[in-house]
Symmetry: C2
Subunit: 258 residues, 2 copies
């Protein structure tokens, strides 16, 4: 079971969109994939049409309660794709965790307590909120690697510098295994010089870490959530479906999975 934190404190860069669609692309290749909604906004949960009435136990119960992972992870409409849904109660977790001993290890501890019912997950993707608070730190502490969606715009580079500071601290003090698995450019519009300049800058600073695959701006990706579908069910021939399929191939190739 490999754990990836999908993280960037900059808002609106494609974290949730990447979690759903990369997750779905991996499930389509026969892997068993668990998505964890670690954002109190619960966009990932809404995207997969987990109507709040259906949601019994949430990420909050996993983190702060006694609910085992097997009870909280629910199947989605996509074969092989499971979700730990979140709700507004998760907003409270950040404050409640603040005074707990070992507050950074709560998620790691719960995911590792997986019993034989949940040990079958191949990949876990954790959708993070747009911040570097305790929920995001929990994700980085539990993760084998971080995947950073990035929008090729001005604020991206400043954000990366800040993110790396935090990742290095987590690696030093909480999770020595943590590595930056990849940066993926999302919402690529490619029409402005700015996008190309930022991409070059990222390539210069991060080299191989930057995925070759770029997720192009594609209105179908923005529409799919309102239909409660992943891009593969909503618009299988779209650029969005192609790009996330290509990202999944590259993601697995980096793992050495043929």
């Amino acid at each position: 079971m490999r754990i990836t934190a999908v993280i960037n404190q900059k808002g609106g860069v494609g974290k949730t969109t990447t979690t759903v669609n990369l997750g779905a692309a991996l499930a389509r290749k026969g892997l068993r994939v668990l998505l964890v909604d670690l954002d109190p906004q619960a966009n990932l949960t809404a995207h997969l049409m987990m109507d709040h009435a259906q949601v019994r136990t949430t990420t909050y119960d996993l983190l702060m309660g006694d609910a085992p992972l097997a009870d909280v992870a629910r199947p989605t409409a996509i074969e092989g794709l499971f979700l730990v849904p979140s709700a507004g109660d998760l907003a409270g977790a950040e404050v409640e965790l603040a005074n707990e001993i070992g507050r950074e290890y709560f998620l790691k501890d719960r995911l590792q307590k997986a019993d034989e019912r949940t040990a079958v997950f191949d990949e876990v993707l954790v959708d993070c909120p747009p911040s570097l608070g305790l929920l995001a730190i929990n994700a980085l502490t539990a993760a084998d690697e971080a995947l950073v969606p990035l929008q090729a715009e001005f604020f991206a580079l400043q954000g990366m510098a800040r993110y790396l500071e935090v990742q290095n601290l987590v690696k030093e003090r909480l999770n020595p295994n943590l590595r930056l698995g990849g940066i993926v450019i999302c919402m690529w519009k490619g029409q402005a010089n700015l996008s190309h300049e930022v991409r070059e800058e990222v390539k210069k600073s991060f080299g191989e870490v930057l995925f070759e695959t770029v997720i192009r701006q594609n209105v179908k990706l923005a529409e799919a959530p309102s239909a409660g579908k992943t891009i593969f069910e909503y618009a299988a021939d779209s650029n969005g479906a192609q790009d996330y399929e290509a990202l999944a191939d590259e993601f697995l190739a980096r793992r050495g999975v043929p």
Copy 2:
């Protein structure tokens, strides 16, 4: 001195872009405008090219230290436009505030302590981080009104429901004057049915609160920050400049300012 919180916990919807350009448009009309960067990401500060070397006292010093507003508010390159810059130290404030008595009133208290040197500000716009944590609550507690930038995409409506819950609690318990001054649609692409559906939905739910002015998607708005300029210096004839000019007119008309 009227205080407006520019707020939406959904990330990447145009909060910083609106704070800078609405602020600049108001300053161009002869008003004295103070922008407060309340986001540890410090995008607003970077946009106005406040090189970190120039930044001596920050929003953190204002909130947590003893620095009076007059010492922290700095002039920008734009006449009549001032900025309280932020830096990474602000990330600590959220945790430090958690155990303080009256923790929600820190910003309100500092802005109200304004002496004759700062009493001349007509408008204060506070750029909020993408969350509803203590920094955002401080902004809502200090504010006369909230301005909510909104992207006409699927997650917008779910976000608004959550936002209103929090605004109502702040109004009930901390700031009875608080009102929702306006919702402004940003990054309008208008090409997808989805955008129109969301806009209709918002109109239905919020009526007059929704600004007539819509900020269209315009690459010049995304480029201006890399030049350290507002849209009016960077591309005065662009859609972006027109739209933020129109927003400023509507913003003032709502105040009854001729």
